[in-house]
């Protein structure tokens, strides 16, 4: 979230789309309700009517996988009616940038497409640069090659008639929602988006979110209270674990995983440090080397020296242009190249797309280590449905972890708040905290490599001094994450904030983003002050701690005008309060939230420009938010493409049916079916309030199983009639990849769609189940049905739109 949970109460209009907040983030509705009672409009767009819809002021349905068409229509509406916030757009976004001549869009393809490699040459989308190497701009927004004009042209095709044909949403609903939401373009008004996996789990996932981010920028909703782009993250520490980058492509603090072509630390830092020639651009990532070197110092401690490139060569490099994502990982495992596997606090046998492929892949492993609270479908895959244990060679170690209340440490919520939690009871039985298990395993591995082994340096040199009295000490790690001064007068002291980190090895910080979280003042994440900030908008700066540097609303420099005064006088986030002399600011002072960089505003009170100011979007190379995004794999503007499996022969928006760069996997287990009469209905997956993720932390609980005991499929009364299915009876759902027995919920909450004149039915499944719990073994994972394809940028699987059949058993 760019903003945070409490801030939702400050909104004038809340769009809940691609998420089901009332069910999956129930406490968020405390703040949705509060905003609504103050007069905010709540809009919900979802293929089916949910518990969120029941509380919305406006609800409408769309067919799964058509969000870009829906939102593209809103962009057209905003452009046609000139509802964008012109001052904001012209000064804070790249709407003014001139795009180079090689950028083109035709027949659903952007320039630079290589159909053999299914890849774009992104250099074709570059900005036109001036002689100094700064993007050419037209602050009047009139140049036909400026981003705003190109945007207008691009979305001119997204008229409500066509959008309605694609999405199945009635035109009057589209108009009502566009009008209601776009009203937030007025100065001082804020609208927010609450989205989740309903947007990410598509072959156009990133562009779904980009479309909305662009709307937020057009309407001036980024950086302000009650605005922002808010991903409702689904797991208690998925934010923190992403910040610490348990992902193939990034290192802690969103540094890049080195590529094989980054042959030295210097080459690595050069490659990933962006350069801007605009003196008004803060270009925050220019500090890259300070963060990467401090990270290496945390990895290897004193063993990391300037002479050995701080141990850079000891860490693995990935091949340029190759992905090592979840889908690729299980594809490789299926093909047999992966021999050993850790499934640590995760249940891939149920959680990933195409679970049948995943389960088959596990049979090809030599060994697996599974760490969990409960026995589960992954650890026990060798005795799962249809598997003969005597044919499975895999050796499996199942290690019992303790629960979160049985240990101490911190987690980071969706609003980036790092919060400390304490130990209640001791771990049950012989279970251990993950921390104790990791430390003990690390010690065992270190001792195995003590006298022999391949490439032993990284293992032997890994800093591993996190014990106190023989036990894992989370405080020691938390301090290392913050970082220390390693030399000079403050040697041994904790670093105050990341502004002090150095690229010469004199500081450590295991994650620069968290530098400021545990300082000589103490553990900031354990703070409990209920005192609000002076702006009284629910920032609670003394409660817990949030990254970066306790800034509660990021991009908040965009919440003020060029003179540093808030667009919204009532619910303001920051404001410049420096002294004024002769119409000029003469001292620096911001009040409210921690500002996104403490520089002077771009203009003085008398309207004169300042040269010591910075553009507000400091993490962007050019300091401007990106309405045009030339870094994406699938185009600088979003475009509607159908899901890989879809119910229509043709994309009505352009000549490409599917995202032209979506990854395609080709094993026997990767079957797909589009417009196949065997699988005539659109399927989607989702969650319910009473279970969580694969259900492994809720299915073994009788109280929760009582509420939602069985896997189900929801369908319209019309479809049930067509298939002769009765409410509450068990039915069989099938896709090109697998089948699922489930209970039919025949409901008014699903309605057939009219798509280009045809009736299209959609059904939906919760993905919380698996054969191990409940013990009947009858409730299975909906991911047995879902396809292993995904977004070309992130490779998040497309589990939200695919094709199925349902029939009586």
């Amino acid at each position: 979230m760019t903003n945070h949970w409490i801030d939702i109460k400050n909104s004038d209009c809340i769009l809940i789309m691609g998420s089901n907040a009332a069910e999956n983030h129930p406490i968020s509705f405390k703040y949705v309700t509060e905003a609504q009672q103050k007069g905010a409009k709540v809009i919900n767009v979802d293929p089916r009517f949910t518990r969120t819809s029941s509380r919305a002021d406006i609800y409408t349905a769309l067919r799964s996988g058509t969000d870009i068409a829906f939102l593209g229509g809103m962009i057209k509406y905003i452009m046609d009616n000139k509802l964008y916030n012109k001052e904001y757009v012209a000064n804070y976004t790249n709407a003014t940038f001139i795009v180079g001549k090689s950028f083109k869009f035709k027949n659903g393809l952007f320039s630079g497409y290589d159909s053999k490699k299914r890849k774009y040459d992104k250099s074709k989308w570059a900005f036109a640069m001036d002689a100094k190497g700064v993007p050419k701009m037209d602050r009047t927004l009139k140049n036909s090659r400026c981003v705003l004009q190109l945007l207008k042209k691009h979305f001119s095709r997204y008229n409500t008639k066509l959008v309605s044909k694609i999405t199945g949403t009635p035109r009057e609903d589209l108009l009502k929602i566009y009008q209601t939401y776009a009203a937030s373009g007025a100065t001082g008004k804020a609208a927010t988006i609450m989205y989740a996996m309903g947007w990410t789990q598509h072959t156009v996932g990133v562009q779904n979110i980009r479309t909305m981010a662009m709307i937020q920028l057009l309407l001036g909703n980024m950086g302000v209270a009650g605005g922002g782009v808010n991903a409702l993250r689904g797991e208690s520490n998925v934010q923190g674990s992403t910040d610490h980058c348990l992902l193939w492509h990034i290192w802690p603090g969103y540094l890049k995983t080195p590529r094989a072509s980054n042959v030295s630390l210097d080459a690595y830092n050069k490659k990933w440090t962006p350069k801007s020639n605009d003196p008004l651009s803060a270009n925050w990532w220019q500090n890259y080397a300070k963060y990467s070197v401090s990270l290496l110092k945390s990895f290897f401690g004193e063993k990391a020296t300037k002479k050995n490139d701080f141990g850079y060569s000891w860490l693995p490099k990935v091949d340029d242009g190759k992905a090592y994502s979840w889908l690729d990982l299980f594809d490789e495992m299926y093909k047999g190249s992966i021999k050993g596997f850790f499934a640590w606090g995760q249940n891939p046998a149920c959680s990933g797309a195409n679970a049948g492929k995943t389960r088959k892949a596990m049979e090809r492993l030599d060994w697996m280590v599974n760490v969990n609270l409960f026995d589960n479908e992954t650890g026990s895959f060798w005795k799962g449905p249809g598997v003969n244990p005597s044919k499975v060679k895999t050796e499996v170690f199942m290690l019992p972890a303790c629960t979160s209340v049985e240990k101490e440490g911190s987690i980071t919520n969706s609003g980036r708040w790092m919060q400390w939690r304490y130990q209640g009871p001791k771990p049950l039985g012989n279970s251990l905290s993950d921390g104790d298990i990791i430390i003990a395993l690390g010690e065992k591995i270190k001792s195995a490599y003590k006298n022999s082994g391949t490439f032993t340096q990284p293992i032997r040199n890994l800093k591993w001094d996190y014990l106190t009295n023989g036990e894992y000490d989370p405080h020691k790690v938390a301090k290392e994450i913050n970082g220390y001064y390693l030399e000079g007068p403050k040697k041994g002291k904790l670093v105050e904030s990341f502004g002090k980190l150095k690229a010469d090895g004199s500081t450590s910080s295991a994650n620069w983003l968290y530098c400021h979280s545990y300082t000589e003042k103490g553990n900031m994440s354990a703070r409990r002050s209920k005192q609000d900030a002076p702006n009284n908008i629910g920032l609670y700066p003394g409660f817990a701690w949030c990254w970066p540097v306790n800034r509660r609303i990021i991009y908040n420099r965009a919440s003020v005008d060029l003179k540093g005064q808030p667009w919204d006088k009532k619910d303001w986030v920051i404001k410049f309060a420096g002294d004024v002399k002769g119409g000029k600011y003469v001292s620096k002072k911001w009040v409210g939230d921690v500002p996104d960089g403490g520089w002077y505003p771009l203009e003085n009170p008398d309207g004169s420009k300042r040269e010591d100011a910075k553009h507000p979007f400091i993490m962007r190379k050019h300091g401007h938010a990106q309405i045009y995004g030339p870094g994406r794999a699938d185009g600088p503007f979003p475009e509607h493409y159908e899901p890989l499996e879809c119910p229509v022969e043709k994309n009505l928006m352009n000549k490409q049916r599917i995202n032209p760069v979506a990854p395609i996997y080709k094993t026997k287990a990767d079957a797909f079916a589009t417009c196949d009469p065997k699988y005539p209905f659109v399927g989607t997956t989702y969650r319910v309030s009473e279970h969580w993720q694969t259900g492994l932390m809720t299915r073994p609980q009788p109280w929760l199983l009582e509420l939602q005991p069985q896997v189900f499929v929801e369908m319209s009364e019309e479809l049930a009639k067509l298939k002769g299915i009765k409410n509450g009876e068990r039915v069989l759902a099938t896709s090109a990849r697998g089948s699922l027995k489930c209970t039919a919920i025949v409901t008014k909450r699903f309605k057939p769609f009219k798509i280009a004149g045809n009736t299209v039915h959609q059904v939906g499944f919760p993905w919380h189940y698996g054969w191990r719990w409940p013990e009947s073994g009858e409730e299975e994972s909906a991911n047995l049905l879902t396809p292993s394809t995904g977004d070309p940028n992130t490779r998040i699987p497309e589990t939200k739109a695919f094709m199925v059949n349902v029939k009586k058993i």
Partner: protein
Amino acid sequence: MKVTRREFIQITGATAAGLAVSGLGFDLAPVKSHAQMLKTKYAKETTTICCYCAVGCGAIVHTSKRGDGRVINIEGDPDHVINRGSLCSKGASLKQLTENENRLTEPMYRAPYSKEWKSVSWEWALTKIAKRVKETRDATFKYKNVIGQVVNRTEGIASVGSAAMDNEECWIYQALMRALGLVYVEHQARI
């Protein structure tokens, strides 16, 4: 800075209303309830953050100071500025996640082609895992890729997990995996 103790709900021992009637000689305890004296009265109180979704709600854990030292009650933390005492159905069931007879309490091992689990010691399990890691890593370790660039990695071992771990655990976990040379390191954020 000392760790700030939360301002817990002040539980008084006020029981007058309930006990006053006992003189009548009836057992007036409501069915299935623990009237008059709170079951949490003598418990240790600690704060936690809910382990389910990422709203980050605060909860209070009441742990028995006597007997088995297990959890008696978990409910919303009224002094937490986000949830202000409320919890959803999952949060309200937190006690049953911890006090659950289905939990694993011993390391288990399944030998190749075996039909069953057997309990093993931590020492045995971790020693054997370290051995397997070393065997597989060393057999699959690549110093260079096909075009001769230095890569120092293994593609023979993969690891997934976990958004359920604490930040500090996440950091040491990824450090260990990366020191081993793993590149297939993924977790929930990808799916």
